[in-house]
């Protein structure tokens, strides 16, 4: 373990660590553009020059390994002068159109100028080299004038997606970034290009001109798009989600996320959200208070007793699933969660980067809590035979399955917890408004059994409640209240009930989640946790 001194601070790092990593790990930020923790080192921007004792010239911190006894100065007059000069050179042809640039507020050029530059421009705007602006590359907008030629986008395309869309063209001052014949970006990870670009050269088309970033509040969460469980920031303003951004987690998604996941915020703010409970009356739907709807469901479930069937959803959090399982056990009905065999696709990759075939975030959580019991086929068979008197659905997935329609029509009472309106809800007799993933506190367990936390970012619409609160309301009415009043307390119950989760709580999960021992592969994995 080589020891070095950076800015007078003694630092011990593993062999092979670069100076910029060692500094970053100990809270010393070396200014940079082309270095990215999850991309190979290129060393072209020359911004991270630092003074190293016994070396005659300044060295780039991103490509210099720490060696024993190295003494590094990142803020010495010589280094500071180098930072200022590099920045001045980079800004020669920059258009300084920050007022209309979406990157403003999270731009490395802006930040580094305020920190290390603050020089007067020597080149008039009229004398700058003009390049192409507003080039539409599909999901990405290219503005070649703003580019600092750091080649992060090229390295991302080379190393992560393997698509190699970008290349530098022309020479000298006229060098600019471009795709071949301006072809649009077609791979499913284009949003990351806007994230890796340290300046406003590559910007997201979806987020274009939508909001200035300094108005946004970020909340740590987990993408609900598939079983990979990429860590994300939910960026929100005034209760409206504006975008999702990948949050770095080296063990799950590094710094990336797919465009499908990135777009999953759009369904949260839709006007078609279920915001109130309703019960099917004699002729039409009657809107009722959630409490009244819960009374109805509780009465029907009590009446049906063990002739009740419960279907959980792998879209729910572990807390939702636990409360739902407690409900099923209190009534004594049949229970399952599988619609379309998500457990078979749980670990199947859709591509070589992140996306997985199972588009549910918490199938593993369902398996861990032992919700795969009766089998959906058995439940549907019982429905068709008229043996099910009441059916409680935690999500509307089953209502969308065409083969199930006939069997469901024979159930006298179907209650469903739904987040979005849809024609399938007409097949139910009672609709309970459920909060979506960005509105609840909870945990998801991803495909490799990493338990990760969601945090509420925005308020749920209308009367919508987290699914666990709906289940807890039913349990209250059945006279068997849950001994938990919050998601945090519920998770403590989960940790006590599921052996592998023992000792876990929200504090232990932290921001990066906690990996459990991976379950053995195979569709049958899941029968292990009963309790």
């Amino acid at each position: 373990m080589p020891k070095c001194t950076i800015d007078g601070k003694e630092i011990e790092v593993p062999p092979g660590t670069t100076v910029i990593e060692a500094a970053a790990r100990h809270g010393i930020e070396v200014p940079h553009f082309c270095w990215h923790p999850d991309l190979p080192v290129d060393g072209n921007c020359r911004m991270c020059l630092v003074e190293i004792e016994k070396m005659p010239k300044l060295q780039i911190a991103c490509n210099t390994m720490v060696t024993e006894g190295m003494v590094v100065q990142t803020k010495s007059p010589k280094a500071a002068e180098a930072h200022r000069t590099t920045l001045e050179l980079l800004l020669i042809n920059h258009p300084i159109d920050c007022p209309v640039c979406d990157q403003a507020g999270e731009c490395y050029l802006q930040d580094n100028y305020m920190e290390h530059g603050l020089h007067d421009a020597k080149v008039e705007v009229e004398d700058k080299v003009r390049k192409r602006k507003v080039v539409d590359l599909g999901p990405i907008m290219l503005d070649a004038e703003r580019c600092v030629l750091c080649t992060r986008c090229m390295r991302f395309e080379r190393e992560v997606t393997g698509t190699n869309s970008f290349q530098l063209v022309n020479r000298g001052d006229h060098t600019s970034i471009s795709t071949f014949e301006n072809r649009p970006i077609t791979h499913g990870y284009a949003g990351n290009l806007a994230d890796v670009c340290p300046v406003g050269a590559l910007l997201s088309h979806d987020f274009r001109f939508k909001m200035r970033v300094w108005f946004l509040k970020s909340h740590e969460s987990v993408c609900p798009g598939c079983s990979t469980g990429c860590n994300v920031f939910v960026d929100e303003r005034d209760g409206e989600v504006q975008r999702l951004r990948p949050r770095r987690n080296v063990d799950v998604n590094r710094s990336w996320m797919c465009d499908l996941g990135r777009a999953s915020y759009k369904e949260i703010g839709l006007t078609s959200r279920v915001s109130g409970a309703r019960v099917k009356g004699a002729a039409a739907w009657d809107g009722v208070a959630v409490a009244a709807a819960l009374d109805t469901v509780a009465a029907k479930v009590k009446e049906a007793g063990s002739a009740t069937a419960f279907l959980a959803t792998p879209q729910g959090t572990n807390e939702d699933l636990f409360a739902f399982r407690a409900l099923a056990e209190a009534v004594g009905g049949t229970l399952d969660f599988r619609v379309g065999d998500p457990q078979a696709k749980l670990r199947v990759r859709s591509d070589d980067v992140l996306l997985r075939d199972d588009r549910n975030p918490n199938t593993q959580g369902c398996l861990d809590q032992g919700l795969g019991r009766a089998g959906v086929a058995a439940i549907l068979e019982a429905c068709a035979a008229g043996r099910v008197r009441a059916l409680v659905l935690q999500g509307p997935e089953l209502l969308r399955v065409p083969e199930a329609v006939e069997a469901l029509a024979r159930v006298p009472f179907v209650a469903v917890m739904a987040t979005h309106e849809g024609p399938e809800l007409d097949r139910a007799h009672c609709v309970l408004p459920a909060a979506a993933w960005a509105e609840v506190e909870g945990t998801f367990t991803n495909y490799e059994r990493r338990v990760q936390r969601l945090r509420p970012a925005v308020p749920a619409p209308g009367d919508a409640l987290p699914r666990w609160e709906l289940a807890a309301g039913l349990l209250d009415r059945l006279g068997q209240p849950l001994p938990a009043a919050s998601a945090r307390e519920l998770f403590a119950l989960v940790a006590r009930a599921v052996p592998d989760y023992a000792g876990l709580d929200y504090r232990a999960l932290g921001s990066q989640g906690r990996a459990l021992t991976p379950a053995e592969d195979g569709p049958a994995a899941g029968a292990e946790a009963g309790a």
């Binding site: 007022p99 209309v100 602006k133 507003v134 274009r208 001109f209 939508k210 200035r212 300094w214």
Partner: protein, 195 residues
């Protein structure tokens, strides 16, 4: 804590002196107003007080040569606004040199505290203040003024432009649609700020 107690002698009679003094003040003011033409009051709204050229009244938006708003929807004014009374939505213009413009630009004049920070923050000299200050409306909604009303303020601008901090280093002339229309249609040229 020792408090200072003022003792007032209620038994002492003031006499007629102070009353006569009061009458004398009223009488001299009456004489000044009637014969001296030194009235303190004015006939508002027909008559208006002159305001400083840096007076911070109701806002106005400036325009480009083609009449489109000069604003590029950078949200600086909305960011700096302490009253949070500016609401902007931005859209895309087909011209690649300008790109961004406000599709909505609303100021809630009832919420505004007329501090002038928005004018200070604007990088484009797109928002000024006028010397207009009589804010009258029949509903609250009427006093949330939108982009087009901010550009073309009609007769509201009679007082002339007010606070414009970058006046001394304006390189390009700024077109104020409201003032131009006022001159064309009503022949009114409000006094420009004197320097």
């Amino acid at each position: 804590m020792a408090a200072t107690v003022v003792t007032v002698d209620r038994d002492q009679k003031p006499g007629i002196g102070p009353i006569l003094l009061g009458h004398w003040v009223t009488l001299t003011n009456l004489l000044k107003t009637v014969f001296g033409r030194q009235a303190s009051t004015i006939q508002f709204p027909e008559e208006k007080r002159p305001h400083s050229p840096r007076y911070r009244g109701i806002h106005l938006l400036t325009v480009r040569e083609d009449g489109s708003p000069k604003c590029v929807a950078c949200y600086m004014c909305a960011t700096v606004c302490p009253a949070e009374c500016i609401y902007i939505e931005s859209g895309e213009r087909p011209e690649k040199t300008i790109e961004k413009y406000p599709t909505r630009f609303e100021i809630d004049l009832l919420r505004c505290v007329y501090c002038g920070f928005c004018v200070d923050a604007c990088p484009e000299e797109a928002i000024f203040m006028s010397r207009e200050n009589d804010l009258v409306g029949t509903s609250r909604a009427e006093l949330i003024i939108d982009r087009d009303r901010l550009i073309d303020r009609g007769k509201l601008v009679e007082h002339g432009p007010g606070y414009r901090p970058a006046d001394h280093d304006v390189r390009r002339p700024v077109r104020i649609a409201a003032l131009e229309r006022l001159e064309k249609e009503h022949g009114i040229v409000p006094g420009m700020p004197k320097r």
